[in-house]
Amino acid sequence: MCRPTISHEDGELPSSPTIRLPFLNFISTVRGDSHICPELSWLVRCLGLDRQYSLDVHGYCTHTALSLETSRLDLVPLPALLVAGLALGVAAATPVAAAGRLRRGEPLSRVAISSGLMTFVALQLAAGLLLLDATWPLTGYPMYAPHIPGGADVEVLLLEGTTIEGQQLAIPAESLFADPLDLQARVLPLLRDPDVQAVVAKHLLQSLNRERQATAVPLVALRGSVERRSLTAGGEVVRAVEPVFVYPTEHR
């Protein structure tokens, strides 16, 4: 379980915000920096089971970032937790049962297929009930599930670049990734953090320039703003734009 290291010219990202959640049970009982190996603590974090650790805000961006708010253990109701636990138990017990079936003379192909299906269904059910995304391709499906009250603002990241010739260009939201919201989900929270804003903007500019390399003149500056969209009572969409960052700052 070795985490691949990625060289960051500007050093590692700063530590993530710590979210302390009220009651702690089995994880905290085995916890304590001396009691739990780093690999296990990392696994607990990325599965969103964490109640005491600093949540890794910058890892495992999921389409519905539930892990930023709370632990799965607080989120999922007890009956569903029990069913998920049962499913995990079934998945773990299936190979043992398969060995028994083979000893009783059942054909290997049948035992392999039916045991494989049992394990798959159990793991899929457990991942789904625990709303996990980190376990892709067996995931939960929490997309668009959180309730958003009426009148809440919508935020959309807008990027604008300046070429070496001084020309201002609007950068399409799908410049780097197919889904325009992917880039926003990954970088907007960081671009708002003054401590890492410059680092993130620099990497963003580098990526945009590499992507434009073959076709266009490079960008020398990047400006980001957020468009707030809201729906009026009359059904009209109102937009307001507020600046978020300029990189490098001398282009401000």
Partner: protein, 316 residues
Amino acid sequence: MTPTVPPAGSAPPGLLARWWTTWDRWWLAPLPMVSLGLLRLVAFATLLWYLGSEYAWVVRLETVDPWFYRPILVFHLLGVGPIPEGLAAALRPALVVCAILGLLGIFARCCAALCGLAYLYSIGQVYSFTNVHHGDGLLGLVLLVLALSPCGATLAVPTPWSRSRRADWRRESTGAGWPIRFVRVQIAMVYFLAGYAKLVLSGPIWMDGTSLQHYLILRGQPIGYWLASQPLLCAALSATTFLWELTFPLVLFWPRLRWAYVPTAIVFHLVSQHALGVGFMYFWPFLLVYIDPGPLVRWWQARGIRLAPGPRPSVS
């Protein structure tokens, strides 16, 4: 779809043994081989569609700064790093060739295995640079399932070396039963778990339509803006979606319900694609697996019997 597979061996009549017998009877009940052939055609056609429409985004990952790379769990565990330069471009022609061969039923199992692994690797790379999405996993899983089943035995182009392995497309086989049911069950679980997530994270208030309005405005599609300005319509669509998702697994137990649920699913995905810009394009083609080819096979057999010449009168 009557279960006809008896349990093998002399299993003791314990509760566990009875459970496994019931489980096997449901999963391993035979289906016409044509179903498996159709599943293979749908899977490889969908893969070709993906290669033509979205694989370019995998190639473009090479231009993205590795700083953005945050590997998904399975890549973490396997120690997989960002996609090496040139690999995505090199994989593309190999994948296209394998997908075409698979579509034709030539070396179909090998092609399914190679395409499944390469596809899951590609999507895993995309998710490691972006976010985990939910509509792409099924195609990879189906390709791996096809690799484990006799998917090239029917609806395939005949080749000199595979003639002896060809199966009658009308014949029922256990080998066709479990892959088809796997896809049906997986699709039913996806919808049910999506409804479950709404129930857990929001509760019935999700049906008030405000969440849908929010996401429509976020996505910013022209038709989405219009839809967001219709609160009653949004509430109706939300309620329908919520109830439809939670009850979708009923089609596994009452197959007649598929005539209502499956077309609704296709309409749901097409509307989502246009109004929300959320395309489950590599997921919804597999809804065709819910179509039972049994009546077609029976009609064909009856036609064959009608056309068959009767016994010739003796001339002597």
